[in-house]
C-alpha cells in the first residue's frame, strides 16, 4: 500500500513539472487511483453500505428498466430489418437468426445499455454527489466522523455493478425476441429457422463475453461519475459541469472499453 502511495506521489511530482494538461491528467489519474484504494478499503464496512446499497439498487434498477428495454427492443427490430434488407435473396434465411442474436449479445445489448445508463445513472450520481459537495452535505457527513466513501460512494458503485449487468441480460433477451418477431413479420422467418440459426453460431462463451463486458461498462458508468461528482467545485455551475463531464467521460470510456474487450476477448477465440 505504501509503495503504491509513494508511486502516486512520484506521478504527481513528475506531473507538476509537465505541461498543464499533462499535470491535469496525471493529477486526476492519481486521485482516481487513491479513490479506488479507498473504495477497496471501505469494503469491510458492510454494515454501513449494504442497506444503502439496496435502496440505490432498487432506485436505479426500476427507474432504468423501461428505457433500457425500449432501446433494446428498437435495436433488435432495426437489426432485424437491416439484416433482411442486406440478405434478401443472397443468403439462407436462418442466417438472420444468427445475426440478430449474436449482434445483440456481443455488441448492441451491452453497449447500448451502458450508454443509456451513462446518461441515466451516471448523470444522477454525478449530480447527487456534486450537489452534496457544494451544499456541504459531504462536509457534514465527515464532521460526524462518518466516511463519505462507505456512506455515499460504495452503495452507489456496488448498486450499479449489480444492476447494470442484470439490465444488460434483460436487454439482450428483449432485443432478440423483438428482433425475431420483426423478422417473422417482415421476412416470414419461422421460429424453427430462427432457432436453428441462433443455435448454429452460438457459443456459451458469447454470453460470458456479454456479461464480462457489461461488468466493465458498469465500472465506467459508476466509478467515473462518482469520482467527478465527489470532486465537484464551485456551486450550481460546478454541478452542471460535473454532470456533463461525467456523462461524456463515462460514454467515451465505454466506447474505449468496448474496443479493448472486443480485441482482447474475441481476439483469442
Amino acid at each position: 500500500m505504501a509503495a503504491v502511495a509513494g508511486a502516486l506521489d512520484l506521478v504527481r511530482y513528475v506531473g507538476r513539472w509537465g505541461s498543464r494538461p499533462a499535470q491535469h491528467v496525471l493529477g486526476n489519474a492519481g486521485r482516481f487511483t487513491y479513490l479506488l484504494i479507498d473504495l477497496m478499503r471501505g469494503l469491510t464496512e458492510w454494515r454501513v453500505y449494504l442497506p444503502r446499497m439496496f435502496t440505490q439498487a432498487t432506485h436505479i434498477g426500476y427507474g432504468s428498466l423501461f428505457i433500457v428495454l425500449l432501446v433494446a427492443g428498437f435495436a433488435g427490430a432495426v437489426t432485424s430489418l437491416q439484416t433482411g434488407y442486406q440478405f434478401t435473396g443472397s443468403l439462407p434465411l436462418y442466417y438472420a437468426g444468427a445475426v440478430i442474436s449474436e449482434s445483440m449479445i456481443l455488441e448492441l445489448g451491452p453497449v447500448l445499455t451502458a450508454l443509456i445508463l451513462a446518461g441515466r445513472i451516471g448523470a444522477r450520481y454525478a449530480a447527487e454527489l456534486g450537489t452534496m459537495r457544494v451544499t456541504e452535505q459531504i462536509d457534514a457527513l465527515e464532521s460526524l466522523g462518518r466516511s463519505p466513501i462507505t456512506h455515499l460512494l460504495l452503495p452507489r458503485v456496488i448498486a450499479g455493478i449489480l444492476v447494470i449487468p442484470a439490465l444488460t441480460m434483460f436487454a439482450n433477451a428483449t432485443g432478440i425476441v423483438v428482433g425475431y418477431l420483426t423478422a417473422k413479420g417482415s421476412l416470414g422467418l419461422t421460429y424453427a429457422d430462427f432457432e436453428y440459426g441462433a443455435r448454429y453460431f452460438f457459443r456459451p462463451l458469447d454470453l460470458w463475453y456479454s456479461l464480462i463486458k457489461s461488468y466493465c461498462f458498469a465500472g465506467a458508468v459508476t466509478l467515473i461519475p462518482c469520482y467527478i461528482g465527489y470532486n465537484t467545485q464551485q456551486g450550481a455551475e460546478g454541478v452542471g459541469r460535473a454532470t456533463t463531464t461525467a456523462v461524456v467521460s463515462a460514454s467515451v470510456t465505454i466506447l474505449l472499453l468496448d474496443a479493448l474487450t472486443t480485441k482482447l476477448l474475441l481476439g483469442v477465440k
Partner: protein, 259 residues
C-alpha cells in the same frame, strides 16, 4: 481544550487568517465575532479538520488535528458536534435519519429503541414538534432547517460543539431557545463550545468570553465587560454598528408585534 496556535490560511491570493491564536478551556463557551467574510467559518472548520491551516497548529483534546490520520480524525470528530451555517442537512433523508446520523456510536445508531427516543429528545431540545421527524429537509423553513442541524450536532452527545451562526435567521423566541440550549449544555454536561456569531447581544449572553476576528487577526479577547470597556477603535466600531443593528431589528419586531 481547543487551542489554535498561530494559524494562517489563504485561498490563492486572498489571505483569510494571518497568525490567529485562541484557547478555549474545557467547559468554556467562547463566542467568535467578526464582520461578514472575515474568516469565522474558516476558523471553525480548522477546529474539526474540514480545512487545514497553511501554517500553525490546532490542538483539540490533546490531538494535533492537522497531523491526524483519517481514522484518528474520524474518531475525534465523533466527539465534536458541528452546526453548519446553512444547515447542510442530508436532503435525501428524512429529518429523523438526519438526526440519527448524528448518533456517532454505531451500536446506538443501530439500536432502534435508543435512536427513536434520542431523535424525539433532540427535536424537543431545539423546540421542534415530533411530527417534523418524518418530513424531508426540503419541506422545512429556513429556521427549522437550522434547528434540525443543531439537533443533529447534539445527537451524539459530543464533548465539543462548534456552532456556525446558530441563531441567525431565527425569530427571537427560537433564538432564545437555542441560546438557552447552548447554556444548558455547558452547565449540565460541561460541553466546550465555540459559537460563531455576528449577533453581539446574543453572544454576550451565552459566552464566557468573546473574541473579535478583525482583518485576519484576533483583535480582542475577553469577557463581555472587558470587550465593552475596550478602547480599541476597531472593537468599538464593530460593537456600535452591531448594537445599532440589533436595536433596529428589535424595534422592527416590536412594530410588527404592535401592528
Amino acid at each position: 481544550m481547543i487551542q489554535l496556535q498561530n494559524i494562517s490560511k489563504r485561498f490563492l491570493s486572498n489571505v483569510v487568517l494571518d497568525g490567529v491564536s485562541l484557547d478555549v478551556q474545557d467547559g468554556e463557551t467562547v463566542a467568535l465575532l467578526g464582520p461578514s467574510g472575515v474568516g469565522k467559518s474558516v476558523t471553525l472548520k480548522m477546529i474539526n479538520g474540514l480545512l487545514k491551516p497553511d501554517s500553525g497548529d490546532v490542538i483539540v483534546d490533546g490531538l494535533h488535528v492537522p497531523k491526524l490520520k483519517r481514522h484518528e480524525l474520524a474518531e475525534l470528530r465523533s466527539r465534536i458536534g458541528y452546526v453548519f451555517q446553512y444547515g447542510a442537512l442530508f436532503d435525501s433523508d428524512p429529518v429523523a435519519e438526519n438526526i440519527r446520523l448524528g448518533i456517532t456510536n454505531e451500536d446506538q445508531y443501530h439500536d432502534e429503541a435508543y435512536w427513536k427516543e434520542r431523535v424525539k429528545e433532540c427535536l424537543r431540545l431545539v423546540n421542534l414538534s415530533a411530527d417534523v421527524a418524518d418530513k424531508y429537509p426540503a419541506e422545512l423553513s429556513g429556521g427549522m432547517k437550522k434547528r434540525v442541524g443543531i439537533a443533529r450536532a447534539i445527537a451524539g452527545k459530543p464533548k465539543y460543539l462548534l456552532y456556525d451562526e446558530p441563531t441567525s435567521g431565527l425569530d427571537p423566541v427560537n433564538a432564545d431557545v437555542i441560546d438557552g440550549l447552548i447554556e444548558r449544555l455547558r452547565d449540565e454536561l460541561g460541553v466546550t463550545s465555540v459559537v460563531v456569531s455576528h449577533d453581539v447581544r446574543g453572544s454576550f449572553r451565552v459566552a464566557d468570553r468573546v473574541a473579535l476576528l478583525w482583518q485576519a487577526k484576533i483583535r480582542a479577547v475577553g469577557t463581555a465587560e472587558e470587550i465593552l470597556a475596550s478602547r480599541d477603535t476597531a472593537v468599538q466600531q464593530f460593537l456600535e454598528r452591531d448594537l445599532e443593528m440589533s436595536l433596529i431589528q428589535a424595534e422592527g419586531n416590536q412594530d410588527r408585534h404592535g401592528a
